[in-house]
């Protein structure tokens, strides 16, 4: 009896030690169970995943989907996630064969990575039917080797937002050159206002500053040149941009500890709304988020400008960092035909597209009515752009994009010099391309 007790105890102990470690294996088992359940419900129900968490945009999609369901008799189950959680969840789902039928993407390298694995449906033929209604450049961002893998439903750019009330109060003009920007920031700081709001824990908001600086200094196509290998990531443009970014930190143009603030939970928007910061560089998605979160601010304070030109630089003030949001169909879907119809619907239906416009977002259709000033400013910037560069963290391959974001965060945290950052980028680029 004693020997048996000992055996059982050892077994228990062994199991306890095992359970107190490496629980990373848990996911595999659980996912298999989950996917079994979902596959059975598959048939006549489509799964749609997107990131439009702002109430107004979320509603637009819900209502559009309702209309779609009534028209085609297919139920659609919607899952809404925030930006970074979405990326993680989708990657896991794609990896375990449990992907939704229709999913959001930003095109570019991120979507291409999935397409290369054969996980996305090629809709080149299908989109012929409706592509003329949409923004051509946006479709282009979902096209790889001549094949189209996604249909745009929203387009985006990266304006420089500013609080016009603060500017009026201190007699400031919107800066169009870097020298003017420096004067504006000096005045703001003298009055206890932080020039730029920034929440950089997710790394991409800060990286956008680096990208804009690089585009202004070296020309709009500087990143395309680096990606194609024409120039190196250690080109002096990137060094200069890194130095300028570090100087902005030294001059106190960003909040302290910006690298720990969280965009998704509103840390920087909160400061912008409260007037603690006067400007913010963000995607045009912010127009609609602001309308949804703080209508008063939207009506009275929000105004759009463009990142100023830099003296001696090759870039124009009208060169845009832009992008689009698209829907793609997963190769795993049980109902590819209906999924493609859903994608078409969300890209082209007047209900959805006009709904987005009313919610302050720029749709993919080229013929929409816009009623509010900030949104109109955004659309004008887009149509007057001299160059559209797709969001860098979407254009680069995933591993390189992570390195890009990491190095920019390090520059903002002053833990890397611009030479070190550039070197890391080039090293990684050479090892994978």
């Amino acid at each position: 009896m004693r020997k048996f007790k000992k055996m059982a105890a050892l077994l228990m102990a062994g199991m306890m030690i095992l359970s107190a470690n490496g629980c990373s294996g848990n996911g595999a088992g659980n996912d298999e169970e989950e996917s079994a359940v979902t596959k059975e419900e598959g048939g006549n129900k489509l799964q749609l995943w997107h990131i439009q968490t702002a109430e107004n945009r979320k509603k637009v999609i819900e209502e559009g989907v309702k209309e779609f369901s009534e028209k085609y008799g297919v139920e659609v189950e919607i899952t809404v996630l925030e930006n970074d959680p979405f990326k993680t969840k989708l990657r896991t789902a794609m990896g375990s064969g449990d992907a939704p039928d229709v999913f959001h993407s930003w095109g570019g390298g991120w979507l291409k990575a999935f397409a290369d694995e054969g996980l996305v449906v090629d809709i080149t033929e299908d989109i012929e039917v409706w592509k003329d209604q949409l923004n051509e450049a946006a479709i282009g961002m979902n096209t790889f080797d001549g094949k189209v893998y996604g249909s745009p439903y929203m387009t985006a750019l990266t304006p420089l937002y500013y609080n016009k009330a603060i500017f009026e109060e201190h007699g400031l003009e919107v800066p169009t050159t870097w020298a003017e920007m420096e004067t504006v920031c000096e005045t703001l700081k003298k009055n206890g206002i932080i020039p730029f709001a920034l929440a950089n824990s997710t790394k991409w908001p800060g990286a956008q500053h680096f990208v804009m600086l690089s585009m202004r200094i070296g020309g709009a196509d500087i990143f395309q040149k680096a990606i194609s290998g024409e120039i190196s990531f250690e080109d002096e443009t990137f060094i200069k941009a890194g130095d300028m970014l570090r100087n902005m930190v030294d001059d106190g143009w960003f909040p302290e500890g910006a690298n720990a603030l969280n965009w998704d939970t509103g840390d920087s928007r909160q400061m912008f709304y409260a007037g603690q910061c006067a400007m913010i560089l963000q995607t045009s998605g912010f127009i609609s988020t602001c309308l949804s979160e703080n209508e008063e601010f939207y009506n009275n304070n929000l105004a759009l400008a463009s990142y100023p030109a830099i003296e001696g630089g090759k870039g124009e003030i009208t060169d845009m960092l832009a992008g689009e949001n698209a829907f793609s169909v997963s190769a795993d879907s049980d109902n590819v035909e209906m999924s493609i119809k859903l994608v078409e619907f969300l890209s082209t239906s007047k209900t959805v597209q006009q709904g987005f416009a009313d919610a302050g977002a720029i749709g993919a259709r080229t013929d929409l009515n816009v009623s509010t000033k900030p949104l109109q400013q955004g659309m004008d910037q887009l149509s007057n752009a001299t160059y559209l560069q797709n969001f860098i963290d979407q254009t680069l391959s995933p591993e390189l994009a992570e390195k890009h974001k990491d190095t920019c965060q390090a520059l903002l945290g002053k833990t890397m010099t611009s030479e070190e950052a550039a070197k890391e980028m080039q090293k990684l680029y050479e090892s994978i391309e």
């Binding site: 048996f4 490496g22 990373s24 595999a28 500890g257 992570e402 833990t415």
Partner: protein, 306 residues
């Protein structure tokens, strides 16, 4: 004859009761762990079928050995282990003594001390993130009111981030050890203390020479829990800083997460997981060996005359 029959039916019953737990455990833990070690021998991004991924043997482990970022993360884990054991057990012990005593208002104190445990980790993380916000957070506003002009950006500065994170972790987990230790204390019979008092032992002597040794089992259990928990810790660090700023507060678990889900290197991430497993086993083994007392047998219990 009858005796051995009973032995067998006893074993059979026990095994039957263990079976459901063993099955679930085997499927979700043992199988998962084995698969993780298998994945660590692949060069697999995590998407697409793993069967097609190239096998690379122990390359991932060699890469890990010279990976600066991993060792930085491991050193953070080490710091977390030390601080957790010293602070959470130490403070837990003090609090346990307090709530075990008969001072006035003890029930209220008990409730207050216990509260941090009631919050979910995510809620705790977001709560403290808001409190530590450099401009609008409670902590810095209080500091400014006290006359400190430039309070640090706690989670955004390298020199303060670990301190802030360790503080929050201890805040959340100390009550757990307080409860565990107090439970251990209530197991010590009153007569022991009465006898000691009659013999003239001071309160301090009673604590040091009686309470502590009698609690050794509970203390060891708590220490093992704390050590292993700290080696695999993820939650609060991920929520509050994501391993930032720029990887300064990285833990092995957050590093593993990033490699697996952000940088599409599931094979490499699995080798991180495998290493964490091995490190934990070694550390616990060493700990159990070192703290084994002279009068304990191999089983780790005081020898009784059975």
């Amino acid at each position: 004859m009858i005796r051995s029959k009973r032995k067998w039916s006893n074993r059979g019953t026990v095994l039957l009761f263990l079976l459901p737990a063993l099955v679930i455990y085997g499927l979700y833990n043992v199988y998962g762990i084995i698969m993780t070690f298998y994945f660590s021998t692949l060069d697999w991004p995590g998407m697409g079928p793993y069967q097609k991924a190239a096998g690379v043997g122990l390359t991932n482990y060699f890469k890990l050995f010279s990976d600066k970022e991993f060792w930085h993360a491991a050193s953070n884990n080490l710091l977390l282990v030390i601080v957790s054991v010293v602070v959470q057990l130490g403070l837990g012990m003090i609090l346990a003594l307090i709530i075990n005593s008969k001072i006035k208002g003890i029930k209220l104190l008990r409730t207050i001390y216990f509260m941090p445990m009631l919050l979910s980790t995510v809620a705790t993380g977001i709560l403290w993130q808001l409190m530590l916000h450099p401009y609008n957070g409670l902590i810095n506003n209080v500091l400014r009111a006290l006359g400190i002009h430039n309070p640090p950006a706690w989670l955004g500065t390298e020199s303060t981030v670990m301190f802030a994170l360790l503080f929050v972790v201890c805040w959340q987990y100390t009550p757990q050890y307080m409860i565990l230790l107090r439970a251990g204390m209530t197991g010590i019979p009153e007569e022991v203390y009465e006898a000691a008092t009659i013999d003239g032992a001071s309160k301090w002597q009673q604590f040091w020479s009686m309470t502590l040794p009698l609690l050794s089992g509970t203390l060891k259990t708590s220490a093992v829990l704390s050590i292993v928990g700290s080696l695999k810790y993820f939650d609060l660090f991920w929520i509050m800083t994501g391993g930032g700023p720029n990887g300064y507060s990285e833990l092995m678990a957050t590093y593993m997460y990033k490699k697996a889900f952000n940088q599409e290197q599931m094979g490499y991430a699995s080798s991180v997981a495998g290493s964490m497993f091995l490190i934990s086993m070694v550390v616990v083994f060493i700990f159990m060996r070192v703290t084994r007392r002279r009068d304990e047998g191999k089983g780790g219990r005081l020898n009784e005359n059975c």
